[in-house]
Amino acid sequence: MLKNKEQELQHLPEHVVLNILCRLPVKSLIRFTCVSKRWRSLIISDHQFGNSHFQLAAAASHLRHNVLISAGTTPPEMLRSRFLSLSEEANFLIRNLNWPWPSESYRDILVMGSCNGLVVLGHCNSLRNGLNSLPLGQRYCRYFERLVIWNPSTGFFREIPCPNFQMGMVKLREAEQEREMSGVCYGFGQVSASDDDYKLVVIQSLGGFMVVHVFSVRANCWKIVKASCENIHKVVTRSFTRI
């Protein structure tokens, strides 16, 4: 009986293996990427798995603390990766990290915020968009065109849709649009510990008033929240303290 069972286990359906794996803590998962090439590919690149583990990994309290080093403007020759990790557990050795867009220019990546080991990155192809000729506020908006939530310790990342900045602009007269888009501020964090969801908040400042865009990671969509100017101040403060 045992022999048949062993053969059968080798044919354990992938989704069952995934069901088991997605419940494992990050440390175990990383270790099990060494089990076989198939497991490695499952753990690292399976999209569905990345999603279901996303929330688990973010909540893993047994993950040791690492420091994320972001190499903004250092010439590429000096550091092999845009992001590096300094880990207490690994005797403070610096490790190059795998990150979502390794072929992009460092300057085009903006770190939007981080929370619980998750980092939000924005990307904008500066050459293509002629970034330097834009006013500052609009420049930052461009970084939202490509957004990703990334877990540096596991390498998982998930692209998220960009917000609809035009929605806020609709209220203004056409002539004012260019001038009035004076700025944008943003923050990423968890609204409350019990709510297994992360929010990315972007506040578009349009001269006289502000438009608040909120992205829910769990719902995977953007919403525009109405807020008066006094409330905006509170929201901004609260968002930033969570980073």
Binding site: K5, E8, V16, L24, R31, F32
Partner: protein, 184 residues
């Protein structure tokens, strides 16, 4: 075959116009790979989707013995045990503690290998809540184990050569340390 109109209690009662109106606990019969035959209460049997589909989709008579060639006798015993408890707890308002206690006992004497076999069976039989529970149980048992253990358990062959293995291991050597000693 002659029918005794008085005999309403037997399960071999023929169905048809003369069938008893009295309450008979309907049973469904299955046969596992090793030839063992099981009589399941209808409400328990219906928890097992593969059985439910078999009988309901084509309106197959309950007199048919459903073959389950991928299931061993001992596995069927465990599945019936779990589903019976699940049905029982459905009607209870606050069954949380009882469920937890039951679950702990349920896996107590099962080796990890058996647990995995049972997981495979729960998947085949299509009992989602049992599958999820067993996957959780397996993950608890393997989370602090090393790579060799996991390979052996899942029957996975190592297709990394020595160099490749050292390379992937070097990505996070800390993940391979302090195993079996963790408190969680």
């Amino acid at each position: 075959m002659s029918t005794s109109t008085d005999n309403n209690a037997s399960i071999t009662q023929e169905s048809g116009p003369s069938a008893a109106v009295q309450d008979i606990q309907k049973k469904i019969v299955v046969r596992t790979a090793d030839g063992e035959v099981f009589n399941l209460k209808e409400e328990v049997a219906m928890e097992i989707d593969i059985i439910k589909t078999f009988f309901q989709e084509d309106s197959i008579s309950y007199e048919t013995v459903m073959p389950l060639p991928n299931v061993e006798g001992w596995e069927m015993v465990k599945v019936i045990e779990y589903c019976t408890k699940h049905v029982e707890l459905k009607h209870k308002v606050d069954g949380y503690k009882e469920r937890k206690a039951f679950q702990a006992l349920f896996v107590q004497n099962l080796s990890t290998k058996s647990l995995l076999a049972l997981t495979n069976t729960a998947n085949y039989l299509e009992v989602k809540y049992l599958l999820d529970f067993l996957c959780q149980a397996v993950s608890e048992q393997i989370k602090n184990k090393d790579v060799d253990y996991v390979r052996e358990l899942f029957g996975v062959e190592n297709d990394f050569n020595d160099e490749e293995y050292e390379q992937v291991k070097a990505e996070a050597p800390w993940a391979h340390e302090n195993l079996n000693n963790d408190l969680h």
